[in-house]
Point group: C2
Chain length 344, copies 2
């Protein structure tokens, strides 16, 4: 990406092993993320450009000398952040804070919307999908595995941090791919009632298939009233905020029940916000969430996808080849596509 | 209180039963709360004045027709907020959000720095202390029971909401009576390391007796560095914020470990504050806390006080008669006294 709206497909040198802990992966599927739309809207024009993408499933092509858990030919999922998976924070389950980890999309690390990718900290980052041949696998299975790289497990992280469980009333704010994933995760975790706030009918329809029990299309004060009505005036035990803009946060503290939890996974596009007596404190509301440590949830999620227990890949409603990636960005930006998969 | 610095002791009509759910209590001990100092600093002068106080232990004098769990002569603790203790929010353990409950210190409900008090929702609010004759009881026992009305159980609430437990590194910000209570509560809940941030030596000394393993007198960036050094650069699993001013909150997110919890019980003297990527979100920090539903924790705490397992009454370092209450405010304001008990 060279600036707002300016995505180009270019031929560059293949990545090579730089650290003995690296692996090189041949990308099978990548995708465009909702969060990629932030620079697509606002990035300053740049001569150097910025490599894009942070999600992939692929096949290990080469490993560094220190990599012990992988071999050439392994079919793997790459979490959207790399991490050593052995440090104190990783052991806590917060791999996105690993001091030896980091994020894709810099000049040093590269992006994953590519045919080949260098994965740092490969032992800690890549997770093998057992007994699947990506060349012969069902398209739906590949799509669902790809969501474990970010979107589904980001929704899952929201629900996990919000302590969703049986008997809980959960409201999901946002009908993007992460919001719909949060609906599916809340159902997995046993939520009793799942209210989805969103106004794009085709998306909320998928939300209902994923487990939403009610859809609220209204926003602002009107949306808050509707949710209060649907919860006997008590509010929502858990609010999963999958947007990142201030109005979504304001809705969240408007509908959270006393003692309830707001869990954010939409990257906040603000730094300061109300948290005093009138918003969070007065009703003992808890605010949680952050960049999802998807690595922490990976193995059980792979099993759920392989057994067909969950089908989060349904959020992908468009498939493009690598040359069509710029059109994929434009389609997501125009809301013509919910989530765009890139087939290499 | 008639305005900032203007506390008067006046003879008023005895309170009477107004609702069948009321009780009248003869006050044995009341106290001045750190939170009473906020209006002591800033209240606008008023002709009507405002009745003060929200903590007491006392003896039931009279009950309304609908009160079923109390009888004349019962020795009771009154939580600082009244509540029906039967509604959905009370059953959740968030009695401070009870729609039939409320707070003392209005013209309608009165204050508890008084010889007699009307307690609304008496069945839900008052908790009987079994087998204690307040006329013959040890002064230390009475002091500890009085802390259950607010200060100790507010510190406990901070620790409870912060999920303090064995193996946890806990930092308490603030060496006031609530902060010291939070230290004691964190020790009760099994914290491994308890760092107390405060710079009043006589207070932090009591904090050490309550269980603090280290004291950090520095503030701001220097205080943050000291705590990071004491936690191997990792930060604190739990931060209990018992001040309520912005610099304390800024310290809190500076020292909280990735995935950790900031639990606030100091009433925030701000509404907006940083919660975006650079403060909470980036490291998956959780923010929790609010007005303590002390009713939820009362029975086990009474047992712990009666058995001598905890001695939270040590926060009271001055006892005054009712005529000396204005001097008690002044002494707390000047930090000559940590917490002032009023003996009727």
């Amino acid at each position: 990406m060279y600036g707002a709206g300016d995505v180009r497909v270019e031929t560059v040198a293949d990545p090579t092993i730089q650290q003995p802990t690296d692996a090189i992966v041949r990308v099978v599927r990548a995708c465009v993320c909702g969060s990629d739309l932030h620079p697509f809207h606002s990035m300053e024009q740049s001569d150097l450009g910025r490599p894009m993408g942070h999600e992939l499933i692929g096949v290990v092509e080469e490993i560094g000398a220190a990599v012990g858990s992988l071999k050439k030919g392994d079919f793997v999922v790459a979490p959207f952040a790399f991490s050593d998976n052995t440090c104190a924070f990783c052991r806590d389950g917060f791999q996105t804070s690993c001091p030896h980890g980091g994020f894709y999309g810099s000049r040093e690390v590269g992006g994953l919307q590519a045919e080949f990718a260098r994965i740092p900290q490969a032992d800690g980052s890549l997770v093998v999908v057992p007994d699947v041949d990506p060349g012969a696998a069902d398209e739906k299975l590949l799509a669902s595995l790809l969501t474990l790289s970010d979107v589904y497990l980001t929704g899952y992280h929201a629900a996990h941090m919000g302590r969703v469980g049986p008997g809980k009333v959960v409201t999901v704010i946002g009908d993007g791919a992460v919001g719909l994933s949060a609906v599916l995760a809340a159902r997995q975790l046993g939520a009793e009632q799942i209210i989805l706030m969103g106004r794009h009918r085709s998306r909320t329809d998928l939300g209902v298939e994923f487990g939403a029990t009610e859809v609220v299309a209204e926003r602002g004060e009107e949306g808050i009233s509707r949710v209060m009505d649907l919860t006997r005036g008590e509010g929502s035990h858990v609010v999963l905020e999958a947007v990142g803009h201030m109005p979504a946060y304001e809705q969240a503290y408007g509908i959270v029940r006393p003692g309830g939890i707001i869990s954010r996974v939409g990257v906040p596009q603000y730094e300061e916000a109300p948290i005093g007596f009138g918003s969070l404190f007065g009703k003992n509301a808890t605010l949680t969430g952050g960049p999802a440590p998807v690595r922490a949830y990976m193995e059980p999620a792979i099993r759920q996808v392989l057994t067909g227990e969950i089908d989060p890949g349904r959020v992908f409603d468009r498939v493009v080849g690598i040359d069509e990636v710029p059109a994929g960005y434009a389609a997501m930006d125009a809301r013509e596509a919910l989530n765009v998969m890139v087939k290499m």
